[in-house]
């Protein structure tokens, strides 16, 4: 099986790099080719990097609360660039304030993300999702269940 490639970064004007960096390090260690765009990354840069590297997934971090504004239309950008089926995750503190996670998750899934991770998600969980979802893709499914 070829080595999988993932693009990571923190979207918009967001400087919260710590969780994203730990995640990128863990992905690298787990054997993924990891394109880490770092903090303060405009949405189009993610897509560009994904196209250039023929990536299997994009992992978008947003911590600072304005992700809801920054992530609008992210899936459309992917589609425009020919990445209809790329796996899209988002995680962090995805809205301003403490809101119900169900509501927040719904908002992001509706934007076209395949999975959204609540505050405090650990890297082990993300690695597990990724492994199972990529395997599901091999089987032609959209993503693994649960």
């Amino acid at each position: 099986m070829k080595q999988k490639t993932v693009v990571t970064g923190v979207i918009g004007s967001d400087t919260h790099i710590v969780g994203n960096r730990i995640l990128s390090m863990a992905l690298e260690k787990a054997g993924y080719t990891t394109i880490a765009l770092g903090a303060l990354t405009p949405a189009p840069d993610f897509v560009k990097a994904a196209v250039e590297t023929n990536a299997d997934a994009i992992l978008v971090s947003s911590l600072y609360g304005q992700g809801e504004l920054d992530c609008r239309g992210f899936r459309d950008l992917c589609v425009e660039a020919g990445l209809e089926n790329i796996l899209l995750y988002v995680g962090g503190n995805l809205v301003v304030g403490k809101r119900s996670w169900e509501e927040t998750q719904r908002t992001y899934l509706a934007m076209g993300f395949d999975r959204a991770a609540p505050p405090g998600t650990r890297v082990e969980t993300v690695l597990d999702w990724l492994e199972r979802d990529l395997a599901a893709r091999e089987r032609g499914e959209r993503r693994a269940t649960a």
Binding site: V10, G12, S13, D14, T15, I17, V18, R21, I22, M25, G38, A39, L40, Y64, G65, Q66, E68, L69, N93, V95, V96, G97, K98, R99, P119, G120
Partner: protein, 499 residues
Amino acid sequence: MNAPAAPDPSLLPLSEARIPDDVFERMRRENLARWPTGAEVDFEAAVARHQALPKHKQLGWVMREADRQRRCLTQPRGGFGTFDMHRHLMVTLDKDGHADIVPTTTDSYTRNEQWQLAQKGIEESERAGRSMLNGYPMVNYGVARAAELVDAIDKPAIMLTGTAMPRLTGEIGYAGGYSGYLGSGIAYTTSYTKEFSIGEGIRNYQYLDRLVSMYQAHGVELHRRQPGFLTGTNVPPSIAIVTAVLDCLLAAAQGVRNYGLEMGETLHLVQDAAAVAACRELCQEYLQRRGHHDVFTPVTLLHWMGAWPHDDAQCAALVAYGGTLAAIAGAISVTTKSVHEAFGIPTPEANAEGLRMTRMAIYLAREIRLDGLKAFQDEKDLIEREVRAIVDKTLEMGDGDVALGTVRAFEAGVLDVPWSPSRYCKSRVIPARDAEGCLRIVDPGLMPFPKEVMEIHEEKLRRRAEKEGVPFGHELAVSSVYEMAEPIAKLLPDRIGRD
């Protein structure tokens, strides 16, 4: 996007020198022209407004008075995306939270001078009936609205703007009657930007400091403040203090006289107390050495700046302890958080509760000091040795110029900040917590800490590694990032023994 973010660098070569009057006039004109509300800034009127404010609404005076009375003031953070929401927040923090200093945190678009995006954020927030911005768009609302906010409270107001681009926000807020501004060229550029050069960040804050010195010349004592908490992620006291000293020297060179110094709490009582004492003394030592004899430099501690737990009860302990630490350390003020920290920007009510928890904790610890305790003295000595090594090397590299020295030292990795997002900062220095709960350095990167000092750090960290059965190295750093966010059952397992 908007107008260019930095002043034309051809104006002056980078140096610590005070910006000459004529150059500064030109810079201001250009700056204020970048967004329509800039035109509302009328310096004369602003001076008159500040002079008309009662003393207890002037942060410069209030910080000095707190120092005189040995008080530890409280200040939260907070900002919402529309004027009405934000006004309500400020009033709640003042009245229900008894905040001694009332904040206005700006949103992240404003911080990046993306005023068009901020405008969209205002509109979306109004439509949604909740804040879609993570702060108040100070520039978009302009001077008159800023003044209304200051009038709505009975305390001094401070701008919290986490940015390397403070020039227009600062002009507008100060003109509106805000009497404090948090931010600095070294600290914020290394912690809040990716592509922004450190020299540019320094220039931008030289502008702001020069502006404050102009107010000073007109009899208005504004407060400036340095965010030594940096990336908030296990920043060891010495690294915070190194940036505090350097930013402070830069500000003093522009003529600033009231310059607060902020540090994130390490959460170790003795280390925090030692850090506050060392910070105060070292800043004054270097100021004196360089001929700045009248700069007031009160120290502020900040509630834990790293990741928070997801349990309200554990958070309450962090909040309260944050007050305890600040009071015992003799900090002049403490910047507070709330039990919502791990989830998102707190509601005004939760924010006010965080203030009252902290205030009660301060009351309880009000007269306690650790001076004379051996562990305190040892820790303070250690910090001082670390800071002097780095600052002296930096000054040497700048051939006596702080600005040049700083830029060169970052290039060389002599100055460094852990977990920085900036391209201009190596981020090779790696901190972790030791077995006793103090922040230490696993790997100094290229920072020239004395050898004996690094041996102490290593020994203490090795003891932790041993205790936990993990290898000495970067893993310690990662687990230290998570540590305070762990559930209590992991931190302090119940069932103390089995049979």
